[in-house]
Amino acid sequence: MKRVVDARGLSCPEPVLLTRQALQEQGIKEITVLVDNKVAVENVTRTAESLGCQVLVTEQNSDFILTLRMN
């Protein structure tokens, strides 16, 4: 199952908090996280990598799409 976290426009540390919540769910292999600033990209990437995920970041318009895959 794949889940989407829309954290655009949210203050620090809410994007990280939501990402962690989503990653803690059973059976989740992949999560897409949407954020709209570099700080959130860095914070979510750091958190996801520390939890053993591979992170792929793509930029679309002025938003960022982070694809998190559980190793």
């Binding site: 199952m1 794949k2 889940r3 989407v4 976290v5 829309d6 954290a7 655009r8 426009g9 949210l10 203050s11 620090c12 540390p13 809410e14 994007p15 990280v16 908090l17 939501l18 962690r20 919540q21 989503a22 897409t32 949407l34 709209d36 600033n37 570099k38 700080v39 860095e42 750091r46 958190t47 520390s50 679309q60 002025s62 799409i65």
Partner: protein, 367 residues
Amino acid sequence: MQKHALIILSGLTLGALAVFLVLMGNPGNYGVCIACMLRDITGALGLHRAPVVQYLRPEIIGLSLGATLTALATREFRTTGGSSPLIRFSLGFVGMIGMLVFLGCPVRTVLRLAGGDLNAGVGLVGLIIGIVTGTMFLKKGFSLGRATKISPANGIIFPLFILGLLAAALITPSFIFASKTGPGSLHAPLFLSLGAGAVIGVLAQRSRLCMAGGIRDAIFFKDYHLLYGFLAVFIAALAGNLLVGTFKLGFVGQPLAHTDGLWNFLGMLLAGLTAVLLGGCPLRQLVAASEGNTDAAVTVLGLIAGAAFAHNFGLAAGPKGVPPAGQVAVILGLLFTLGMGIAVCKFKVGGEVKNEKSRGCQGTVVS
């Protein structure tokens, strides 16, 4: 450790520059303090009339301009707004009262501790408990809601305000107040302060240095990245103070400090709580405001209004202690902030985790 290099470098630089600025003329343990320096600027603009704390601190001007120029150069300047601006203003306002009862922001808490001021240790305990309380609200779903992209015209107002302060600092017109005695009269030369502020602004923008965030992430997520910056400030300032002979261990006779433990504790508890609910300490708010974040700019205006109020109504502490009105204000500030926390948690406006309905994320996510 390589991925932490920038945040450590930023912390070390800030700590070292803070000691240097004191050596060059700033008051003791007051090389950098976002709260006190904004308070001094508030006084210089005549928004409060406490004659001993009025000076257009160039460190704030340099820091903000450094952050703005770096954000522009890295294409990170984005104009956003609309995330509960009035709550942010209010939290900035009451947070400033807490910081002026303690006499320092989270940055100065570390600098005071690195100068041997043990009262700051009491403040640090309050700061940590405030941050823990704030994270409990976050766990319960506290969110000030989404900011959205807004007209760039909004984003240039704060940098224009800072440019106005720069012009005033350079031209020194007669309507700008400047203390003749007291802490406001003690300062490093203008261009040194401006340059040091700019260096800190560039590094803080790149590294996202945030003192309250460091403690929050360490406790909340076991993520020590920002905490390394916090520790680096302490280590550099401690080493610097020991080197130049400004380290003095104890509670009594510390520069710009009082020994009333209860109010040092409660003042910083309020500061920590508001910082977590706002998403960052005053340093981070100032940097974000300089990057086009108008919600952070409104928070800085709240800090300025809080400083004006604190000195116009005799709430701010002095070396002799905390006036009764300041004690009442901190209690009211705590009640207000806790009330806001509960009220906001009941009306959830934050982000959401959704199941994707089709392949690819475009068009499938409710924004």
